[in-house]
């Protein structure tokens, strides 16, 4: 089955075709939700909500952008909305993002466990920045696509990326001794 066929069939209410689309994108959607929410159960719930919402609105997907872009946009917004709801009334989003993660110990003895290392480093970034970095470095999306997904301005995305890159390199340079991690600081 190819993606366009699956989308067309899902539009007609074909659940099997939609399950195929879920299988294709579930890991990335879950990753985005996790990077924003930093809580496994919340991220699982958000992932489920994303796919339910996407199914309900698949008729509105016009094919103007890639399906993944459209889906990640739903994922990003759903996760942010959950994050706001979780902390509603206690903190503003900026404070929330700054304080979104309890300080954690760096993963020890797992220099080869890159996943844990990346997760630990990303957990020290604000939620929005972690999502932007994930789109840019993991999914290898361009700035324009990230702008479409997040609704942020182009310059804002670039600033977030620059800031996140600097912070990630600062965090990671002590943990990747085998490589020359010297940060280029302006």
């Amino acid at each position: 089955m190819d993606e366009q066929t699956a989308i067309a069939s899902a539009r007609q209410g074909d659940h099997r075709a939609y399950a195929w689309l879920i299988g294709r994108y579930k890991h990335m959607v879950f990753t985005v939700c996790s990077r924003v929410l930093r809580h496994r159960e919340d991220a699982e719930e958000a992932t489920q909500d994303v796919f339910v919402k996407a199914y309900q609105h698949i008729g509105g997907y016009q094919g103007g952008s890639r399906f993944s872009t459209w889906l990640y946009s739903i994922a990003y917004r759903t996760a942010l909305s959950k994050l706001r709801t979780r902390k509603a009334g206690t903190l503003g989003l900026d404070e929330l993002q700054a304080n979104g993660q309890e300080p954690q110990q760096a993963p020890e003895g797992d220099r080869n466990d890159r996943k844990a290392l990346v997760e630990w480093a990303l957990a020290q970034l604000p939620a929005e920045d972690a999502a932007v970095v994930t789109f840019f470095y993991l999914e290898e999306l361009g700035i324009e696509e990230i702008v479409t997904i997040t609704g942020l301005g182009e310059s804002n995305v670039k600033v977030k990326l620059h800031r996140a890159r600097k912070k990630l390199l600062t965090i990671l340079q002590d943990h990747l001794k085998e490589e020359t991690w010297t940060l280029h600081v302006d």
């Binding site: 879920i22 890991h27 990346v118 290898e140 609704g151 942020l152 182009e154 390199l169 490589e179 020359t180």
Partner: protein, 136 residues
């Protein structure tokens, strides 16, 4: 020993991209498809709302047939009206179309057209494709 060289943004991007690729995405629960489909199945089936036209097509056909008949009749009917003819026939032949030039020059027509143009422009402006918001 040489001092370590500073990374350019491109080099840093390349290294981070490599690191992220090695780490890969997080793994979603295996049963997420089943969960979503269960959720979708539990929802009431979407009600299909048909877009019914305000005036049914058979009414349009009837109106069209009537008007066409009227026009054909007025063209084919004899010019001289028999005074003994029906009221309907007399009325039909008394009908005179207004002078189109005068109608178009009327301030009411001009104002009507201007209003229509203004409303159409307003609609086009309000329903234009939205650009991506810049900033929040």
């Amino acid at each position: 020993m040489d001092a370590p060289r500073r990374l350019t943004d491109t080099e840093a991007d390349r290294k981070l991209r490599y690191l992220f690729a090695q780490a890969g995405p997080l793994h979603a629960p295996d049963d997420i498809e089943a969960r979503v489909l269960r959720h979708l199945a539990a929802q009431p089936a979407a009600r299909v709302i048909e877009d019914k036209p305000l005036i049914a097509s058979w009414i349009w056909i009837a109106i069209g047939t009537f008007l066409l008949g009227l026009i054909v009749y007025s063209l084919l009917a004899p010019l001289s009206v028999d005074p003994a003819g029906s009221t309907y026939q007399r009325y039909l032949h008394d009908l005179t179309l207004p002078d189109l030039g005068n109608v178009l020059r009327s301030p009411w027509t001009i104002m009507g057209l201007a209003c229509a143009a203004a409303f159409l422009s307003l609609e086009a402006y309000l329903f234009r494709p939205q650009a991506v918001r810049s900033g929040r």
